[in-house]
């Protein structure tokens, strides 16, 4: 393999690992705020305690996810330079300030409000604590805003001019609110909400199967299922709008997603195919005639531009084609399980003992479905941008580093090993925490008792002060 492909794989490995955790924390912050609010609003003691337990338990999940997001995020800030030194040289004037604001947002959030949220309950007033939780949720969302503004600019660049090969900003409003940004931002926020919804429902279902947290788990399960059932149709709708936006600005990405090699009228929707990038054709096609044209242009005989019009300027087809099908397939599975689950659980009156075990197993199995869909979606859009780094303006190969291939391969292996181990540890610890929530809450109660406001994300904190 050549150095460029290895560098891309390494960056992909890192960014794949990283996005898992912000995907959880962006929406989990808002859900924590909801738990927090329900706790304040519930008068009945058992229910009040349940919401508090739910809040504390999921705060631990938030803290763990946040820590993993931070360490992998630090890695990202270095890999821009190690893997794509030319990117900042050429596009630094655009990317620099956007990344800079993201770092400052994250820094401010981390230093300021996370500590109060994690350790300050009981140390500050209920209102201040509620406000701190709000700012944490707001801060993670703001971080996502800057990163997606930059990413969307790389997909559909606007508001810049190129002088001597370097990008210069003409209008910040156009750079930030570039054509694909609104769609991508909403699509990602909904993806985060759905990932969290299935995580809540799945982990709660696992708790009910194991007889843990009998008081709070049904409530959390209900929140998760309701959010999932409400948002998944919306996500499918937004995804469609995003697709139409892509068709307008990046037609070759759509051609790769649909496996359209030659421009054609009435293009079929391929359910299965093995695209062959060398022979520029598909093998084993199974498709529904004219459906792709209908979905993309709302006309069964509309023309879809094929990859033949973008020679040497279109992405590799096989990964984009399949990543898209994985994302859509997972979305359909999420739609079915969320709606079926919601109606079955509603008929059971949301009571733990009345919920069918088969439903609980289904939801437990879907715990990390949001991760699969999110990562597959990012593969579609990022691999689909190739061979460009800044779409239509800067090729990835132009900005790659001169590091030798064996060295990249070595560090790639190192990163992948560490990331796999951490993934296993993360999932293992979540499972352990779900099964033993009382231990988590006991440690938490101890921390609450011994920690003054202002601590930063630390699991253990000093007891006595002089």
């Amino acid at each position: 393999m050549d150095a460029l492909l290895l560098a891309r794989m390494q960056f992909a490995a890192n960014i794949t690992f990283h996005i898992l955790f912000p995907t959880i924390t962006i929406a989990l912050g808002w859900l924590l705020l909801f738990f927090r609010w329900r706790y304040l609003r519930t008068a009945e003691p058992l229910g009040k305690q349940a919401w508090l337990n739910a809040y504390r338990f999921w705060t631990k999940v938030f803290a763990l996810s946040f820590a993993l997001g931070v360490v992998s995020g630090v890695t990202m800030s270095f890999q821009f330079g190690t893997n794509w030194p030319g990117f900042m040289e050429r596009a630094g004037n655009v990317a620099g300030p956007l990344l800079g604001y993201e770092v400052l947002t994250a820094f401010f959030l981390e230093a300021g409000f996370l500590g109060i949220m994690l350790f300050g309950h009981g140390k500050v007033s209920e209102r201040v604590h509620l406000l701190a939780t709000f700012f944490v949720a707001f801060g993670t969302t703001l971080s996502a805003f800057w990163i997606l503004a930059l990413n969307s600019w790389m997909q559909t660049p606007a508001g810049h001019e190129i002088v001597n090969g370097e990008f210069h900003v003409r209008s910040w409003a156009e750079v930030i609110f570039n054509p694909s940004f609104p769609y991508r931002f909403v699509h990602m926020l909904l993806a985060s909400a759905l990932t969290c919804a299935f995580l809540l429902a799945g982990l709660s279902a696992w708790q009910l199967l194991k007889g843990a947290a009998p008081n709070s788990a049904p409530r959390v399960l209900r929140v998760g299922l309701t959010v999932a059932a409400a948002l998944i149709p919306l996500q499918i709708f937004v995804g469609d709008l995003h697709g139409l936006n892509t068709l307008e600005h990046q037609p070759q990405k759509i051609a790769a997603m649909e496996g359209v090699w030659e421009t054609e009228r009435g293009a079929p929707l391929l359910l299965f195919a093995i695209p062959d990038d060398a022979q520029r054709t598909n093998h084993f096609e199974i498709g529904i005639p004219k459906l792709a044209s209908f979905i993309l242009k709302h006309d069964v005989d509309a023309e879809i531009r094929g990859l033949n019009e973008f020679r040497d300027a279109h992405p590799p087809v096989l990964p984009v084609f399949w990543a898209f099908r994985v994302m859509v397939g997972m979305g359909v599975l999420m739609l079915v399980s969320a709606w079926a689950g919601w109606f079955v659980a509603r008929r059971a009156g949301w009571r733990a003992e009345a919920l069918p075990r088969r439903l609980l197993w289904l939801l437990a199995g879907m715990t990390f479905s949001g991760w699969v869909a999110t990562v597959a979606g990012w593969y579609v859009t990022e691999i689909g941008r190739q061979p460009f780094l800044v779409f239509g303006a800067l090729r990835t190969a132009e900005v790659a580093s001169q590091v030798a291939a064996p060295l990249i391969a070595l560090t790639l292996a190192l990163y992948v090993t560490v990331y796999l181990a951490l993934m296993l540890a993360y999932v293992g610890v979540l499972k352990y925490m779900a099964e033993k929530p009382e231990e988590v809450l006991a440690i938490d109660a101890q921390e609450q008792a011994t920690t003054p406001a202002g601590a930063i994300t630390a699991p253990v904190v000093s007891r006595s002060f002089r």
């Binding site: 300030p97 580093s401 590091v403 951490l422 988590v440 202002g454 904190v461």
Partner: protein, 334 residues
């Protein structure tokens, strides 16, 4: 000398900010990493106290690195690419070390009790790897990524000396933050670390002008040399004072904070010396800050954000250290 225009001044402002971030990072994460490297010498209970003493701070400490490298990335994009390409492997190793150390904080109390020793080992290993990698990177950076047999030797020496400095700093942190048996042991650890650290510092100070003609010229030019001699003299006095304090009983009493503060002074002086040697280069002899900087327009956009957030970060940091002042207690789990 005429005054620079604001546009010319901008890269200098960002260089100063970046330098400050890196200095705060090296000092603050330095003691974290030092404590991490002392972990294997402690008992299980002492390990908990040691982690508790740095627990409230490490995350914010590490974000100074993100800020520093972030400024390098956004304000000096050309240098960012050059430096990180040259330091490809050590950067990777440092990141893996920092990842291990960072997640061990959370995992060691959330995972099953039987896994705790494993995460403690990860904590130690992560701290060690990150420190050695940082030392190597510092050595390569100061010498301008030169090629030849002497350059790797120079970087190797710093790769050994910097962890020693961190260990000394970490031990002095523990002297300040703990009591009883752990404090006694921390004094012993500090004494052990002092000699190799000072020897390393001396060797490196002698080797630096030998390895770089630019630095040689900077250091040995009259009359600047006379004014400059204050830096090594003050460093020497501070280090000797630390050694003397470590031999007294008083270091375990009211002035337990003094060795730590003196060591910070040593780090600050070393940083000033380095800054004097390098300015106005971002990468010595290859790239000045003006050559490496983003356009003034982009820098102004970032500066607005920096002016809002950096004072807030600084204020919060001071607040946090006040809240967590004093000795770290033992931990009890319900």
């Amino acid at each position: 000398m005429t005054w620079m225009s604001f546009d010319e001044l901008l890269p200098v402002i960002f260089m100063a900010l970046m330098g400050l971030s890196m200095l705060v990072y090296v000092v603050s994460d330095g003691y974290d990493l030092g404590v991490g490297m002392l972990m294997h010498r402690a008992t299980a209970e002492q390990k908990d106290v040691m982690v508790a003493s740095i627990g409230p701070f490490w995350d914010a400490n590490e974000t100074w690195l993100v800020l520093g490298i972030g400024i390098l990335l956004v304000a000096f994009p050309k240098a960012h690419g050059l430096v990180l390409t040259e330091l490809y492997l050590p950067v990777t190793l440092m990141l893996v070390g920092l990842i291990l150390r960072g997640v061990a904080f959370d995992f060691r109390v959330k995972a099953q009790a039987v896994r705790k020793p494993m995460w403690d080992r990860a904590f130690f290993a992560g701290s060690l790897i990150a420190s050695v990698a940082q030392g190597w990177m510092l050595g390569r950076y100061v010498s301008g990524f030169g090629t030849g047999w002497n350059y790797p030797v120079f970087a190797g020496a710093i790769a050994l000396a910097l962890p020693m400095a961190y260990v000394l700093l970490g031990a002095c942190w523990l002297i300040m933050k703990t009591e009883g048996e752990l404090q006694q042991r921390a004094v012993e650890w500090a004494r052990l670390a002092w000699t190799p650290m000072v020897a390393g510092l001396l060797l490196i100070s002698m080797a630096t002008p030998w390895i770089s003609a630019t630095v040689r010229q900077r250091w040995f030019t009259l009359p600047e040399m006379i004014a400059l001699s204050a830096i090594p003299l003050m460093t020497g006095v501070a280090l000797l004072a630390v050694r003397a304090l470590l031999g007294t009983r008083a270091v375990r009493g009211a002035i337990c904070w003094l060795p730590f503060v003196l060591l910070i002074v040593v780090f600050v002086l070393g940083f000033l010396g380095l800054a004097y040697s390098l300015y106005p280069y971002v990468v010595i002899d290859r790239l000045t800050i003006w050559q490496a900087a983003s356009s003034p327009a982009a820098l102004k956009v970032i500066l607005a954000g920096v002016c809002i957030s950096v004072p807030a970060i600084a204020a919060y940091t001071v607040f946090s250290y006040r809240v967590f002042g004093g000795k770290t207690g033992e931990l009890r789990y319900a």
